[in-house]
Symmetry: C2
Subunit: 235 residues, 2 copies
């Protein structure tokens, strides 16, 4: 029997109409799927209803896959695909599997020879990088920095060193309520000539993107980053 296809379905990253940031073609593809592996059922249902797919949401089947899912359970979630049914992975925001759960399911899908089909959508990481003017020929995304002060400062210095010596742009993120504290550490720890790009509220009307040297950031009032999703890049 032919196996189903595992579609990777991006979501908007801010509070924007879905087709401001997703190709219309995604709608047609999503509309053919009735089995969804999702990070959170409520928000996946909300996304699908905004996405305006043809069939009633209540006729669709949802299973959750997130940090609480035991890895042996992931295998079970993919069983319908082995029986020929298509499935879609939907994460909370942005691209499934990028700074988000979903990669486990994809890895197991490959092991079973299930076709994986990624759809186009917004990535806050790449929007921030392209808009930063920093090096896009070589870059690394490092996820979250350590929370504790000394380890965090050490991580900042390590990334700054890589940014400078390898000319590799270093991206990272922070829990939004800690953004301002991270900014303070960055401008204290890094050298005046190191460049720092900050992108906030990407794709929304409040979007704000700025690249300055650490020395220039020091001279300005601190930007308002509080509780706003942000990407930080050292370059």
């Amino acid at each position: 029997m032919e196996k189903g296809t595992l579609y990777l379905i991006p979501c908007p990253i801010g509070d924007t109409p879905p087709y401001d940031v997703l190709p219309e073609r995604n709608r047609a593809i999503i509309g053919t799927i009735d089995y969804f592996i999702v990070e959170n059922i409520r928000s996946a249902r909300r996304f699908l209803s905004k996405a305006g797919i043809g069939r009633p949401i209540d006729s669709l089947e949802f299973v959750e896959l997130n940090e609480h899912t035991p890895s042996e359970a992931v295998e079970t979630l993919l069983a319908p695909l082995l029986a020929g049914r298509d499935a879609g992975i939907i994460s909370e925001a942005g691209l499934p599997g990028i700074a988000d759960p979903g990669a486990d399911a994809v890895r197991i899908a490959h092991r079973h020879g299930i076709r994986v089909k990624p759809l186009v959508g917004p990535s806050s990481l790449l929007l921030a990088l392209m808009a930063s003017g920093l090096n896009g020929q070589s870059f690394a995304f490092n996820g979250y920095l350590p929370i504790k002060g000394p380890e965090r400062d050490r991580a900042i210095r390590m990334y700054e060193k890589r940014a400078v010596t390898e000319h590799q742009s270093q991206l990272f993120i922070e829990a939004p309520y800690r953004n301002s504290a991270l900014f303070t550490r960055l401008i204290e720890v890094c050298a005046a000539e190191t460049r720092l790009s900050i992108a906030v509220d990407l794709t929304t009307p409040q979007e704000w993107i700025k690249t300055l040297s650490i020395g220039e950031w020091r001279k300005k009032p601190a930007p308002d980053l509080n509780k706003r999703p942000a990407i930080f890049i050292l370059g």
Copy 2:
């Protein structure tokens, strides 16, 4: 006087209808711009005519920005923005400034306080990464490997080491006519348990994506990668 906005305009990465991979909203935005900074004028014109913008292509102004552009000329290209005119950067395929020219202009725009607005579009790097099942919480894009044998092998070993010890997925690309040679080196140089994902012809009907361990790749016939745009990921 208010400065213009610098829009970063993604293009399709394969031979697909533009709005299969771009949000419809991009069309409306592109339609308001009459000054384009592009990697190649011919292909930018071709893209814009496929993208179905409202006004005649011949009424638009194009300037080229590519590896032949002296960096002092980039400043001049941005002069219209200082005078209040909007501009769009269009690269050959994918996202401007990511594995592509354009970053210079963006960097200078920030220096002048010009607003930079990135639009959503396809990134072969992130499509490949999300579809690989490899770690999307930490990853690096390294551009092209060195061409010469010994340096290339050394680079492969270095990236493999980072993939394994830092659990950081390592992405790279190759000139399409050298893909098969690179594949041969990868399966010879890397350890059997290292995983290698290959994504070819992304977003096109010929799209092909597979993640296997090096040991598994060795047992299979080599994939057909010749002259097909490909992303390689070690994880």
